[in-house]
């Protein structure tokens, strides 16, 4: 099993490791000086409260003895001084952090979904990709992505606050809470790519692409929209990221899937040969975890614990998912004569992606309709990509790209204030189209350049021998289930 990449990649790995140390070193050094104020800032909301001394002395106590006693003693002294404004900051921070944790958990969902929908022989590889992509994204977004996305800059890119170098403002939700929430979003975009290029991409190639996606591609379009850039100014609206997160991941995935070409044996002279995933239970587990995590994704995007909006968003999110699930089940039932679990799973996810852009501003009935349409779209779309011979092992394109587009358009139709169907005129819809197209064009172009560059430097696709034997052995020298008697190629 000799391959040439290891050497190339070993160098890369070493360089990367070194780079990381070098890059963190200055930050570390700086912080060595600045640290005291920096941590003060982090605790500012409390520190500025009237009872500052009590709090300060408690801060020490907490650091030293974060135990029941501390909890039992401290609040009493601290409490009298706390203001409603500070409490709102606390509520907002809790909401944002908890939501961010749920979004983090979506990585688990993606890992299970993608591993379940691929073949047993590629399981270690897919899991490895899903595991590393979050680690990679965390570092990459901290080092570069956050600064490009939310730093001060121009309408096209942010250019400050790399590695969170600028202290946050006092009396507000701590910047680190926002950073964490944005970080888990960035990682989601990268994970989407993983599924579409599965079962044939070289591990190092994916590793490098993910880094660049999170460091650069995603933050730039993120800056245009959520970072206050030109699309934001123009009136483009994407509440929680149907386009900003899902389609961006989807476009990059599409480009990758096309450049890589289909898996061996998928498209034969006799037509499409389905390649069933090896574990539907794992796929269903993944779907449930993703749905659960989406309750962080959408309601968390309110970025504050505002009772009305977060309740509304939770309901629209859930109803669209349920409607997508039902629609995909029924449509596949009508088309194929049997209810297809893999479609039902994709249908629920389609509903979730579709409601993401408009979850805050559509009615509950609107969310049901958006979800129903999303669920129907996903069935047609999967078949469509098969027909045009773009091979997407897990349906990532149909779920994230196509429904990301649908969801973004749906804002222009169903938003109860500005939607076309609610008498809001065509303006919103036009802005939405401009946003979709410009972001799509940008991501496709930049991704294509990167994919080709990676192909030239280190190769993109594994050898066909390795593809037959499975990437688990080829890329990782491991088996996912060594105790079970397994076959490398399914017997049909």
């Amino acid at each position: 099993m000799e391959t040439k990449t290891p050497f190339a990649f070993k160098g890369l790995a070493a360089a990367f490791g070194l780079g990381l140390v070098l890059m963190t070193a200055p930050a570390f050094a700086e912080e060595a000086v600045e640290t005291a104020p920096a941590t003060e800032t982090a605790e500012a909301p409390a520190a500025e409260a009237p009872a500052a001394e009590a709090v300060a002395s408690e801060a020490v106590a907490v650091e030293e003895a974060p135990a029941a006693e501390a909890a039992a003693e401290a609040p009493a002294e601290e409490a009298p001084g706390i203001t409603p404004a500070e409490l709102k900051v606390i509520a907002d921070t809790m909401w944002l952090l908890i939501a961010g944790m749920l979004v983090f958990f979506m990585n688990t969902g993606f890992a299970m979904l993608e591993a379940g929908l691929c073949r047993q022989k590629n399981t270690v590889n897919i899991l490895s990709k899903n595991v590393i992509v979050f680690g990679m994204a965390s570092l990459s977004f901290w080092l570069l992505g956050w600064g490009f996305m939310y730093g001060e800059g121009n309408p096209f890119i942010g250019l400050a606050d790399f590695m969170l170098s600028i202290p946050g403002e006092a009396g507000k939700v701590p910047k680190e809470a926002s950073f964490f929430f944005q970080l888990v979003f960035a990682a989601t975009a990268a994970t989407i790519v993983s599924g579409a290029v599965a079962e044939r991409i070289k591990y190092p190639a994916f590793f490098v692409f993910s880094f660049l996606l999170v460091a650069f591609i995603y933050p730039v379009t993120g800056h245009w929209t959520w970072g206050g850039g030109w699309l934001f100014e123009m009136g483009f609206g994407d509440f929680a990221g149907s386009t900003v997160v899902h389609s961006v991941g989807g476009w990059a995935a599409l480009t990758g899937a096309i450049i890589l070409g289909p898996r061996l044996g998928k498209f034969t002279a006799n037509g499409v040969r389905p390649i069933p995933g090896h574990n539907q239970a794992m796929a269903a587990l993944g779907m449930f975890i993703l749905w659960f995590g989406w309750f962080g994704f959408n309601p968390g995007s309110q970025l504050a614990a505002d009772a009305g909006p977060i309740a509304h968003i939770t309901v629209t999110t859930n109803m669209a998912a349920a409607a997508g699930l039902l629609a995909a089940t029924l449509v596949s039932y009508l088309m194929m004569g049997k209810p297809d679990l893999s479609m039902a799973i994709n249908g629920a996810l389609a509903g979730l992606v579709a409601i993401t852009a408009g979850c805050d501003g559509v009615s509950v009935a609107g969310s049901v309709i958006i979800g129903l349409i999303g669920g129907a779209i996903v069935v047609v779309s999967v078949t469509f990509f098969d027909k045009i011979k773009i091979d997407d092992p897990v349906g990532a394109l149909s779920v994230h790209l196509v429904n990301g587009i649908w969801g973004t358009l749906a804002v222009g139709l169903f938003n109860t204030e500005k939607g076309l169907l609610y008498g809001g005129g065509i303006d919103k819809l036009v802005s939405q189209v401009i946003g979709i197209v410009s972001i799509g064009a940008y991501v496709v172009i930049v991704s294509a350049i990167l994919w080709f560059a990676i192909k030239a430097v280190m190769g993109l696709r594994v050898s066909s021998e390795e593809e037959y034997e499975g990437l688990d052995l080829g890329e990782h020298g491991m088996e996912a289930y060594p105790d079970f008697s397994v076959r490398k190629a399914p017997i049909y």
Binding site: P274, I275, V382, Y492
Partner: protein, 112 residues
């Protein structure tokens, strides 16, 4: 001595085993196999596309017995495994030249 190999439908295993023990077979070995034959496979679905699965799950029973028991064994297996539908399976009789019991080193008839 002969080895009888029977390919049967999986849910018939228990009955065949009982049939064979009834005529005095003391041991047998079972393997999970996939069979292709006159019995047509079925169509499966996956994410909106159909495909035909030709190979069906079957059980292979191997039992080594004395020559004189062959007919009885065939008889028992046939009656126990038969559902009367295509795909019920086959029996093959293969010569065996020697049998050894690993534990004792016994050979031939006693070793069966």
């Amino acid at each position: 001595m002969k080895k009888i190999e029977a390919i049967i439908k999986p849910f018939k295993l228990d009955e065949v085993k009982e049939g064979l023990t009834a005529i005095g077979a003391h041991g047998l070995t079972v393997t999970e196999v996939k069979g292709f034959g006159r019995q047509k496979g079925h169509t499966e679905l996956y994410r909106g596309a159909e495909y035909v699965v030709d190979f069906l799950p079957k059980i292979k029973i191997e039992v080594v017995i004395a020559d004189e028991m062959v007919e009885a064994a065939i008889e028992k297996i046939t009656s126990a495994a038969s559902v009367g539908k295509i795909g019920d399976g086959k029996i093959f009789v293969i010569p065996v030249e020697e049998v050894v019991r690993i534990r004792t080193g016994e050979r031939g008839q006693e070793a069966i």
